[in-house]
Amino acid sequence: MTQAHAHMGPHEPAISDQEYQARLDRLARHPALHEQFTRIRPGEFSGMQHLLLGVGAVGLALTVVGGFVYDIRHALAAYEIGVLAATAMALGALFFVMVFHMTNAGWSTTLRRQYENLAAMLPICMAMVGVALVIEIVSGGVLLRWIGMDPHSDHLLEHKSGYLNTTFLIIRFAVYAGIWTFLSLRLRGWSIEQDTSGDRWLSRRCRFNSGWGLLAFALSTAFFAFDFLMGMDFRFYSTMWGVYYFASSAFGSLAMLAVVFSFLKMRGKLGELVESEHLHDHGKLMFCFTVFWAYIAFGQYFLIWYGNIPEETAYYVFRRSGGWAILGQVLIAVHFFVPFFLLISRVPKRNPKVLGALAFILIAAHVLDMVWIIKPAVDAGGELAPMSWWVDVAAVLGVFSVLGFFLLRAAASAALVPMKDPRLEYALEHVNYV
């Protein structure tokens, strides 16, 4: 402990620029980085994109129709199921991008661009949430019923009115959207900038911004979840709620990305840049967050069930009655047991097709999670019209198709991997030995 502690400057190179450039040049000739694997040609997936855009437009249009056929609350709930599930996925991707930077992760370098693309859907998701928010405010509270209520009509609402008021909600929403847009676009932007400039210090800039970014992410995600999900019943509260939404978002993002990798691999992209070894580790993360979600979901439910305090327990009492109870059991099955038993084995994690197929189950589970949170809140008065589920299907499909369209567009707009990332070579050699 007695040695001198003069510190290396943060930008002091360990290898010279020439040497580093020589390395990059060598890397550029690597056959795995051929354009055929790392680029989507213009118009290559245009059929797919048109299809997604078409389905998106039809789905969202049907949602609007549903709003007139049934009521606005039903349609908005359907829309928010899709939007909040999609936002969760993009948030999860942003989280992983920042964690990869923070830990100087090597193995995930060839995967990271797709995480960045999904994270970059946050501005679009925020626009979609913004639409919902405008509808809420204009209609005087649809799902966030407190918006239209007189604070003096309810003791609890009066107590909370310092937080639950429209102005503050708009400010908070702007802050969340600002933080997430900045982080997701800048982290992706620097990464893409590095593709051409080869500036290794951009990696360090990403890491620096991921540091405060993770802190901002934790707080903003938690309060976003409070505002848009927990706030649907202003009486309800749970300190775990933010963590719960985070667990869902990590789970959802990994499932969506597994589909993306599977899709790209099947279309002949990525080649040996993303091999079974990388998918194996991606699959391990999926398994990990399956268990983590179950842990958080059980922890929250369990403590509320045990304590049985009216404000809290009402949330679950309602979701454990009638058809919602069945849905809850299905949720436990598809969100935990099915992925748990399928992902525990190493075989499905290493096969892109199997992993992709499995990921669809996980995406369905993730959407179902949002359904189970949001729909019973709408149904509180038993006003759910029979056979109205088509609105929900249309809305979710619509939102996800729009998301898919933009995701494909983002993927096509840059290389599929960070071409000159300092750790790219490490990822190329990544192997799970045990």
Binding site: F298, Y301, F302, W305, Y306, N308, I344, V431, Y433
Partner: protein
Amino acid sequence: MEGVTDMSDAQMKPGTWARDIAMAIGTYVPGFARPPARFVSERGKPVHGIVGEFATPAAVYHAAEKVRDAGFRRWDVYSPFPIHGMEEAMGIRRTFLPFLVAAIGFSGAGLGLLFQYWVSANAYPLVVQGKPYGAWEPFVPIMFEMGVLPSAFAALFGMLMLNGLPRFHHPLLANERFLSVSDDTFFLCIEAEDAGFDADRIKDLLEEAGARSIELVEDDA
């Protein structure tokens, strides 16, 4: 190799189940002798095998690939730490240990759940906090622990069992030179129990693979 006498015609055929079982009983059960050795050294001792010594992981790794390709079955590489990729170089199949652990772990968790249910709902039903007797929620923590505990035992003791440990005496451990395996030396041993054991051929093979010394290991037991 000079001094190795082949006795195998007179003995149980190498590489058969019968010989393997007899060998295992002779090794692990007190009071039983192992089947007579196939090969005997100059001093009249049973031959355990021929050991080649290597200086680096790379050297022993490539030697292992050669020995694998030469078709040997009863042989092993000894290294101070697990060498990554050695399974492939040696052609070792994945162990079934994970399945053993999973079977035991899930059984443990299941039994834990049943036991708690039986106690709480049948043997001694007790109203606690107005919860239903058979509610599954409170059983989750102990169910989990009852899955983990047997799994951990299965992982450690299953591993040891499959490895044939504990085994306090082994011909290699009686060889002073071999003991440096725990520091920084790498060994490859082809055992006399291999059906294709041929001292001269093995010596040539190990020499060609770059062993820095080759030695006959006797079984002193």
